[in-house]
Amino acid sequence: MNTLMLKKEQWLKISFVAITVWFIWFSNSHFDEYTIRILNNIAIFIILAVSYNLINGVTGQFSLEPNGFVAIGAYVAALLLTSPEAKQYQYAIVDPYPFVLTLHANFVVALLLGGAFAATLAACLSFPVFRVRGDYLAIVTLGFGFIIKILAINVPEVTNGSLGINDIPEFSNLYWTGGIAMIAVIVVLNIINSKFGRAMKAVRDDEDAATAMGVNTFKAKTLAFCTSAFFEGVGGGLLAALLTSISPDLFDFFFTFQLLIIIVLGGLGSTTGAIIGTVLVMGGSEWMRFLDEPMNLLGYETTAMPGMRMVVFSLGLILIMLFAREGVMGKRELTDLLKWRRKGGK
Amino acid sequence: MINVKNLHVYYGLIEAVKGIDFEVKEGQIVSLIGSNGAGKSSTLKALLNSVKKTGDINFLGYDTRNHKTHTLVQHGLSLVPEGRKIFINLTVEENLRMGAFNNDENYEHLRDTMYELFPRIKDKRYQLAGTMSGGEQQMLAISRALMGEPKLLMLDEPSLGLAPKIVGEVFEIIMRLRAEGITILLVEQNAFAALKISDYAYVLENGKIVMNGIAKEMIGDDTIRKKYLGG
């Protein structure tokens, strides 16, 4: 092994952490509230994207789970963080169960419990779905998202139904979101580069061959799925503490669809790609708001067309799949690009 | 009838066939023999443009380069695939119908001809094809291909998984087909059986042709004997 190359990778990792930390500090003190809000969103979606990429891109199992698990993490955190007085006041449909009022935890515990809850549910789903040829994961996770929404609406004693939970204390800030995003990226990359990650990639590339080689495909898929769920739950908690107000409508299919576009655009299977994709899509989404408003097209005034933005999004996804399936990064990471240059390209 | 020059076949980044030339003249039985993985099946699939390939293939006087598989079949190039691939969820007779899908006028006549040639499958004509024995399935696969009235019939490992006696029957049928005027290109691991009925043969090893010649002479050849005919 070329010691110079090894050192280069170490430098890359150290500089990544250092730059991120500096950037967080810098943004917090220098940017305005609007920009900080966007950066917070980006950070949270990076957490969601790199973990969603783990099951979809690295393990190749098509899943539509994020909105469900994010919702779980958000509700758990909301219930644990909101004060009993605020709960008593806002549960308007029915009275909350007594235990709901007693639920309380600090921020870290709330996030971890949200993640743990989500991961546990993921494990439960894994059993019926991954046992058979995983074709059904998509439908099951799609349905799962609906079920969570149905539960949120129909158990108002816990969730306050359609009114949602409000007055969640705003614990999230750039240090939390950025810091946890950094941790998530590091953890996910470590998993991908470990023997578990190799098993996951083997499942993606050729499941039959992987089984023949002795890879426990069920374990690989379950591990990827539950890890994704965990971080999605944590992300959900962060989101709840950022928005200070959540409701069942927030976690709809479009939420998952956005993440799908993000990881496809960035490159299915690439963590770097997921990060790039998040920045592009969240930034682009903000920029594309004008599509929903009345526009001046070559002097012709159009009326407001809410939903046009989503039409453009879906067309974009189709076009990417037809013409640029690899996305920005393909399956490569930033470190791979640098290796290529050293070897003179192959 | 078919002339192949400089054929390369690729599976992803792997080159299975590394530049081979061969030809099959009208009325001949030509064999491609060689051990497992030598590239024989890939060659047949390439002739039908089913796999990624480069090279020149001239069939009946025209370049097959950009034609789709089903068009080539319509023009008389037919394949009995490895593992037979009969439609197990269809009846025997439906399998034959599939072979003559585009030939509504002639279908019944062709079908009755097949039943004469292969009485065993006539008995089972309304049964699901998946219920037949290996040998019967092979008969069905061949007759299904014949329903397309091919000019060049290719067979991919027809002896695979069959008992020796049935193998003998199958090869007799192949010889009868040549007598009816059908040109045959045969891919086989069972080199002896293939060489016995062939006019000409090519030996494939690791994607390259290492030897070719008149089949009868090759049976007597020492190298061939040691490698492919069991000493």
Binding site: F146, M321 | V73, K85, F87, N89
Partner: protein, 294 residues
């Protein structure tokens, strides 16, 4: 009262069945879950609405417009979005299907608005008749009858015609169909056409009975219909019908006897799905792809 719920259950189940057939056929030949299929049902309903309310067509003509339009749309989606990806990894196809689905929903949302439009039901369908001792609107009664009729047609096409045979052969292996000198891609597009036509009928039935159309109406229905196809036995037309009837019945009957469970109505399909995956993943009619007939 019970009989009335039975008819309603049959009615709802038939609608799910019609849509489930399309899912199961496409899955049978392509092993693809066509997420956009539920939205074809929505398109069918909207085309019917468009035909009557905007073009002023009589009901029958509007239905034909809906069926033809949806079939064309389904076939177009195959040619444009799915056919180029025949040899791509499966996940690409699934993602594209989601993209098409989302596109349809939002395109109709932009052009028609998200507010449900009342569907102009012709008077003769709203008439309440005395049927076997029940008083029910015609619209509820004809649904199962027409569905049974359509099912008979589909089975006849699949088992008694040349192209139906080719569709069944496709379910076994696409490459081998090409070896028969048949352009398998054209047959696949035909499957999309048939499935979409049936979904359009389902959409019209839905629009007549509920009676409104809105861009998202295909989402939940589509999901349940696919669950129905899996429960009944994916790849089997009979299974799709069986699964649809089971889910439709359960929804109607359980809510009739336990109205307090009303909010959970949409969860039943999902519960059935999980149960079937746990105990008999190939579905009730247990079609083993190695040995099956459609």
């Amino acid at each position: 009262m019970f009989m009335q719920q039975m008819v309603n259950g049959f009615s709802l189940g038939s609608m799910y069945a019609l849509i489930a057939i399309g899912y199961t056929m496409v899955y049978g030949v392509l092993r693809l879950i066509n997420f956009a299929h539920g939205d074809i049902m929505m398109v069918g309903g909207f085309l019917g609405y468009f035909g009557i309310a905007v073009l002023g067509l009589p009901f029958g003509a509007a239905v034909i417009l809906a069926i033809v339009g949806s079939a064309l749309l389904g076939m177009a989606s195959d040619r444009i979005a799915y056919r180029p990806l025949r040899s791509a990894p499966k996940i690409s196809l699934l993602i594209t299907a989601i993209g098409v689905s989302f596109f349809l929903e939002n395109a109709f949302n932009v052009f028609f608005g998200g507010v449900p439009r009342a569907f102009p039901v012709p008077a003769y369908l709203e008439e309440v008749v005395d049927f076997m001792g029940l008083t029910m609107p015609v619209s509820a009664i004809i649904v199962p009858i027409i569905t049974a009729f359509l099912l008979a047609i589909i089975l006849w096409v699949l088992f008694k015609t040349k192209y139906g045979m080719a569709i069944r052969a496709l379910a076994f292996d696409v490459g081998t169909v090409n070896l028969m000198g048949i352009d398998a891609n054209r047959i696949i597009t035909l499957v999309f056409g048939i499935g979409s036509a049936l979904a359009a009928v389902g959409g019209i039935f839905w629009a007549v009975n509920y009676p409104s159309v809105e861009p998202m109406m295909g989402v939940l229905v589509g999901l349940k219909a696919f669950a129905a196809a899996v429960v009944g036995g994916i790849g089997s037309v009979g299974g799709a019908v069986l699964g649809g009837l089971i889910i439709g019945f359960t929804e109607v009957v359980v809510i009739a006897f336990f109205p307090e469970l009303g909010g959970y109505k949409d969860a039943f399909a999902f519960i059935f799905l999980i149960l079937i995956l746990l105990f008999k993943p190939t579905g009730i009619l247990g079609i083993d792809f190695e040995k099956s007939r459609f």
